[in-house]
């Protein structure tokens, strides 16, 4: 049976027919044909959709858009927007769901925008816009009034810690690089941002690139570097373009190059692009990549501050770390240190994703609780379902259950709870999430991205993935939980770099807080969240099925049989658990067990 990417049901209830739905169907089909979409979008009539007083009406799957009150004139526009561009036509939808817009009416006063202060407010391709917002005033102050040591002291007093995930003291890193004997030093900006779903760095690179450049130039002055690199992942072409424009303009304005601000300080920088390797976000692998070698980490010491790029002392910091520097210089270290907790000063950007109502980028001071982030800033769980867990820090982060909702967010406390800060990814999970599947998902990602250099990571994560996959497929064994625990300890202790060391975190945290789910999968072969396909089955409830044949017609593997107006039956041996029958059924007759 041909598989259509979209199915359209046109209501042919007598009331809708009376309102012209037959013409709607004809003109829909004709318009789709003329746009060459007839093979992708299937149009069929259906006995009843339900809102016939607002007819003619159609239902578009898989999204479930319900268009009402259609006229033949609406069809060409509808086809172009909905089927060609994939955008729903709001004015034709049944009572427009504008709750998202209304929910944003309470401004989230919990946010403090430091790094993101200019994003969305200036034209990133115009350096003058940045200068109008006091851009490069920090650099001017530093070059004309401060010595390199004084700059490092300011950064130290602010308490700035690296925002890439490790949270190492920025001033200490700068000082170490500065103190290493030698004439040549390098500055690198880590803009690889590989965590799936994280885009904090991208927002800054695309929206306020000069803040990063200014931070790097100040760092270069403090450390005594002459050349810098921005290592940006190739998957961010717009960020690369915006950076190129910014660098060009900065050079034109004499802010990069020889004798900046008429002083003896000269510094310039280049962009280098990544090529899709998550591990190249790790500092030594990144350096290897710039050097033209395969992106593999190496043992430390020696740290890059002592021997880094091309064997020279190198300071490598994250985009966000640099973006904070100009503000610290302009507003003073005390201002920065007044925000946050005792050991984690300042603010942090987070990419809030998952099952929250308001996903997107936020910036909050350290010390704010998870509850405030998820419910106040994020607007709560989508569809008002229950909260199950929040994962912080990206694929090497841990999942924290509801008992941690009042945990103030800072480096130490997240670590103690079994997770990490990471670069700022935060994925919220509702009650319909399977935690075993989540662990499997992240281990699969890490396994894919492992560079393969060391055995604990290369082989260890593969073994973990095999075990987790078996469990999700219903073939878990009683000894699997202990085996996972043992593997986790070994992989963490013996891996060469942070990727391997952090790889067991999703497994360890889900085992610790959601052990019952693992046991249910292994012993009872049950996935209570009804996610793991091998452990669920789809059935039709004979009490609700009216025999409209909709499910049978939409089933991609043709496993539903039944006559018109008679109860239909799903063949469990053929069923692939795709869920389409449940989506298209208007009578809630499909059950997942």
């Amino acid at each position: 049976m041909a598989y259509f990417r979209s199915n359209v049901l046109v209501c042919s209830d007598p009331e809708c027919i009376g309102k012209g739905s037959a013409n709607i169907l004809k003109s829909l089909q004709a318009e789709l044909n003329s746009k060459g979409l007839a093979d992708e979008v299937k149009v069929m009539d259906t006995p009843r959709i339900g809102d016939c007083d607002k007819g003619p009406e159609i239902l578009v799957y898989p999204e479930g858009y319900h268009y009402v009150g259609l006229t033949v004139e609406d069809i060409p526009f509808l086809v172009e927007e909905q089927f060609l561009k994939g955008r729903p036509v709001n004015k034709l939808l049944t009572p427009p769901k504008k709750e998202e817009a209304q929910e944003l009416s309470e401004p989230t006063s919990k946010e403090v925008r430091v790094v993101l202060r200019n994003c969305g407010k200036i034209n990133p391709e115009n350096i003058e816009d940045y200068i109008a917002e006091n851009g490069y005033a920090a650099l001017a102050k530093v070059l004309t009034e401060k010595s390199p040591d004084e700059v490092i002291q300011m950064v130290k007093d602010s308490g700035l810690r690296g925002r890439g995930g490790a949270g190492f003291s920025t001033s200490m890193k700068w000082a170490l690089t500065r103190d290493t004997v030698g004439d040549v030093r390098y500055i690198i900006c880590n803009a690889d941002e590989g965590d799936p779903g994280a885009f904090m760095n991208r927002a800054v690179l695309e929206g306020d690139p000069h803040s990063v450049l200014e931070g790097m130039i100040i760092a270069a002055y403090a450390i005594g570097a002459q050349q810098g690199y921005v290592y940006c992942r190739a998957e961010y072409p717009i960020a690369v373009k915006t950076l190129e424009i910014a660098i060009k303009q900065a050079r034109e304005f004499g802010l990069l190059g020889e004798h900046i601000f008429g002083t003896n300080f000269s510094f310039d920088l280049e962009i280098r692009q990544g090529a899709g390797a998550f591990v190249c976000g790790e500092e030594t692998a990144l350096i290897a990549s710039i050097e033209g070698k395969r992106g593999e980490p190496r043992p430390r010491p020696p740290f890059p501050s002592v021997r880094g790029l091309f064997g020279k002392p190198t300071n490598i910091n994250n985009v966000e770390t640099y973006a904070n520097v100009p503000q610290i210089i302009l507003n003073g270290p005390q201002w920065f240190a007044s925000m946050g907790t005792e050991k984690s000063k300042g603010t942090k950007t987070f990419a809030l994703a998952g099952d929250v109502k308001k996903t997107g980028l936020i910036e909050v001071p350290f010390g704010i609780t998870l509850r405030e982030i998820i419910y106040d800033v994020g607007g709560g769980i989508k569809n008002d379902l229950g909260f199950k867990a929040v994962q912080t820090g990206g694929p090497m982060g841990g999942c924290l259950p509801a008992e941690f909702l009042d945990l103030p967010v800072d480096y130490e406390r997240l670590s103690q709870a079994g997770s990490i800060m990471g670069s700022g990814g935060m994925v919220v999970m509702d009650e319909e999430t399977c935690m075993v599947d989540i662990a499997r998902f992240f281990v699969e990602f890490i396994q894919d991205e492992s560079c393969g250099k060391c055995v604990p990571c290369r082989v260890g994560t593969r073994r973990m993935l095999e075990i987790l996959t078996r469990i999700c497929e219903g073939n878990g064994r009683p000894e699997d939980i202990d085996l996972l625990g043992q593997l986790s300890v070994e992989i963490r202790q013996d891996s060469l770099c942070g990727l391997g060391q952090g790889a067991p975190n999703p497994v360890v945290s889900t085992l610790k807080y959601f052990r019952k789910e693992y046991e249910a999968h292994i012993n009872g072969k049950v996935c209570s969240a009804k996610v793991c396909r091998a452990l669920i089955s789809y059935e039709i409830n004979p009490d609700k099925c009216v025999g409209c044949t909709l499910c049978a017609r939409n089933c991609p593997v043709n496993c539903i049989t039944g006559q018109v107006k008679k109860t239909h039956v799903i063949d469990p041996d053929i069923c692939i658990r795709c869920g389409i029958c449940k989506q298209v059924c208007n009578y809630e007759a499909v059950l997942v067990k």
């Binding site: 944003l104 994003c119 969305g120 929206g207 717009i238 004499g254 601000f261």
Partner: protein, 124 residues
């Protein structure tokens, strides 16, 4: 050229940039700003920008400055379009498809009537 050789140079450029802004505000010019970060473009901001420019050209509207900006962080509301008329407060619209562009240009930009149904109030 614009080479900054001293603190005074920087101050001068800053003042010029601020003056340019003030001029745009007081001269009665209207600013239309389209979010063109990756999230915006993924949501169709290029079409939105095109619709804005085409509308201005078709109706020959004078005194309009169209610029772009990056990601504000409300990625679910992209494409985002902002309108600033002279000294009035910036109004931010969400989910601005080319079709909604026409509504906003006609009502807000030309007649000065904010299109409440599409507004998303921002903080700060």
């Amino acid at each position: 050229m614009n080479t900054i050789k001293s603190l005074d140079d920087l101050k001068r450029i800053r003042e010029e940039a601020l003056a340019k802004r003030k001029f745009t505000e007081t001269s009665g010019a209207t600013q239309v700003i389209v979010g063109m970060g990756t999230c915006g473009i993924a949501a169709g901001a290029r079409e939105t920008m095109k619709a804005v420019l085409e509308y201005i050209e078709a109706k020959n509207l004078p005194n309009i400055v169209v610029t772009q900006t990056g990601c504000i962080g409300l990625c679910e509301q992209e494409p985002i379009l902002q309108v600033v008329i002279s000294k009035k407060e910036k109004v931010t619209y969400g989910k601005v498809s080319p079709e909604v562009v026409k509504i906003i240009m006609e009502n807000h930009v030309e007649k000065g009537e904010v299109v409440e149904t599409h507004v998303i109030p921002l903080q700060g």
